[in-house]
Symmetry: C2
Amino acid sequence: MDINQFLSDRSRLMKASEIRELLKWITEDVISLGGGMPDPSSFPTKEIIEITRDVLSTKPDRALQYGATGGVAELKEEIVRFMGKEGIKIEGPENIIITVGSQEALDIIGRLFINPGDYIITESPTYLAAIQAFRIYGPKIVGVPMDNDGIRIDVLEDTIKKLSGDGKVKFIYVIPTGQNPTGITMSMERRKALLEIASRYDLLVIEDDPYGYIYFGDGTPPDRLKAMDTEGRVIYLSTFSKIAAPGLRLGWVAASKEIIRWFELAKQSIDLHTSTLNQYIAAELLKRGVIERNIPKIKEIYRTKRDLMLQALGEYMPEGVTWTRPSAGMFIWLSAPEKVDTGEMLSIAIKKYRVAYVPGKSFYPNGERHNDMRLNFTYPTPQQIFEGIRRLALAIKEYLSLVS
Amino acid sequence: MDINQFLSDRSRLMKASEIRELLKWITEDVISLGGGMPDPSSFPTKEIIEITRDVLSTKPDRALQYGATGGVAELKEEIVRFMGKEGIKIEGPENIIITVGSQEALDIIGRLFINPGDYIITESPTYLAAIQAFRIYGPKIVGVPMDNDGIRIDVLEDTIKKLSGDGKVKFIYVIPTGQNPTGITMSMERRKALLEIASRYDLLVIEDDPYGYIYFGDGTPPDRLKAMDTEGRVIYLSTFSKIAAPGLRLGWVAASKEIIRWFELAKQSIDLHTSTLNQYIAAELLKRGVIERNIPKIKEIYRTKRDLMLQALGEYMPEGVTWTRPSAGMFIWLSAPEKVDTGEMLSIAIKKYRVAYVPGKSFYPNGERHNDMRLNFTYPTPQQIFEGIRRLALAIKEYLSLVS
């Protein structure tokens, strides 16, 4: 039987993640700077063993049973407290929903808000999996360029003005702190301006904040958009994947009660609710201070590895190559001279030099640049970082000599 | 700000589950026969504690890290073995994908196969949450009536013939064993006829099988549709919610490799993957024989509770009330005389008699009957079952006297 005749039109918008496809190429001797995984030495393994034993000894009937779609009450209360300590005041647990990682929140956003043909705005480049999640719902995705202070507000306003005559702009999606893929953190000034524009043109703002709690720059990070949101316009997303462990698949959304109720309605038909056991584990990780004690350790690991990668880049890269200096997140964004097509270069890098990265093109909603790449510094070991960058520089030099 | 102006047309198809709304009414002194939860005494709690400790001691880096979208290889292999023992031959792990409960599989089916306006066929009545999951994608849902042997094949064929001129019929969705909400198990003859029709009219068959492994009738249950599927036409869904614990949120799909690849593509943008930790737990529950040893215990609990509810029904119900005698599943389907509107009756039942059930109407895709109700016998205690049915009989008698 031919499955094609049964597929929906929507299915034809689904594309395999190039990152995940890439992983299939990679054998043991390839150093991969292409992933997006946290350092497993930061996982609170011992504490999760203890907590699981305690939770299942004291409340097995609840932790292993079906639960409410919105999430376990204890966890939502702990999240409200946790966010409060970071200066993000959330009214109460009714403003929170627990999701299967942030990815599920991205899918629900598409489901709730995007009609085919609607405009949505993102930073350009932006998170690949957000583009994929939104794309299924048929929007026109418009990217606004960034500089070292984040999204360019002048271009943003021009873009919105231009689009407004033409159709509905639903939301602006941003990753203000340690952006994926660039590692850039949006300045305080830009954050204020962004909210002002959202208010003036009546748009929702999606603030994706996986890295805010592990900001490792000097001083304190700029305020979250959600902390400055006086109009209930910001839908805030975060995750336990970087402050605890991604294998738990736990994320959360903070928004107005009305928006959260819509999220619950959507989630009910997607998967009923998120794993109750994992939610109780996360609630205890917060309650017992495990996450709070873990965060300085994670920051230290990330800062050290970032410094190492920056040092290696400075040492090995040829002239004409530039890169960002992130104070949050997991990635450095490298821009090669314009004649380099990093997508085309990848096979040389992997096959001859045994090093992998993610070509930059697919992070652009409209594919406008081909000479960037995303480098991950959190998963590889220090030795792999140094050796990986050395090999990458050789690959770039060889490619440059071929196209010159 | 007014959230309504941002909502997609799709959002307006979302409806709160009446069952879940109902739960909000219920205080401690109400006996609820309305839920759909397994008996928590059947959860393998002690074993999950041990397994979590072992898994996290031996492979924390994998169990707490991101994983493949399709699922953990060890778990998929164990599922292939587990299904094999039940006579369902699956080629290999590439024919399996792990989902967040069966609910996620239902959503993905909608996403992959339904274009707005497509026809899909279900048993009538059918599983409420399946209707909800499919409805978001805009199909025309056509219910085919059942008798004590399952879906009526004569009506099914007439229905398909009639619809075929009018548009694309994509699939038939059935719960062949211990159907939700009726408790009916489809006969072997009907199963064969169903597959024949699907082949003749070239349709997909969705076989939702949450209860097949805990069939508690006499003898062995009829073969699974998937076990008889020679054309790769059956998409088989099952779950760990009833053989282990629903709080793990683990389900799986078995289908042709090509269909599984489409499921993976869809799932990637929904939530990347299912909790790795929980998948390793389930793999060990199967490998160590915990589930196999648990199954006879679950069957015994369910059979005893069903018998008790049947006994109480026989003892208390007035004339004109009929009910099913399930040999699988978690529910008895009760039909009151036609003048009873079980939706309207619910407030008397809860407020005066302190007993709750789910009114039957919303299980009908086209809402054609109003005098049925779904009764759950797995979650309430034996005392609650007996007392609950006694109270329910009083409510029905009072309602009958009011409308006569």
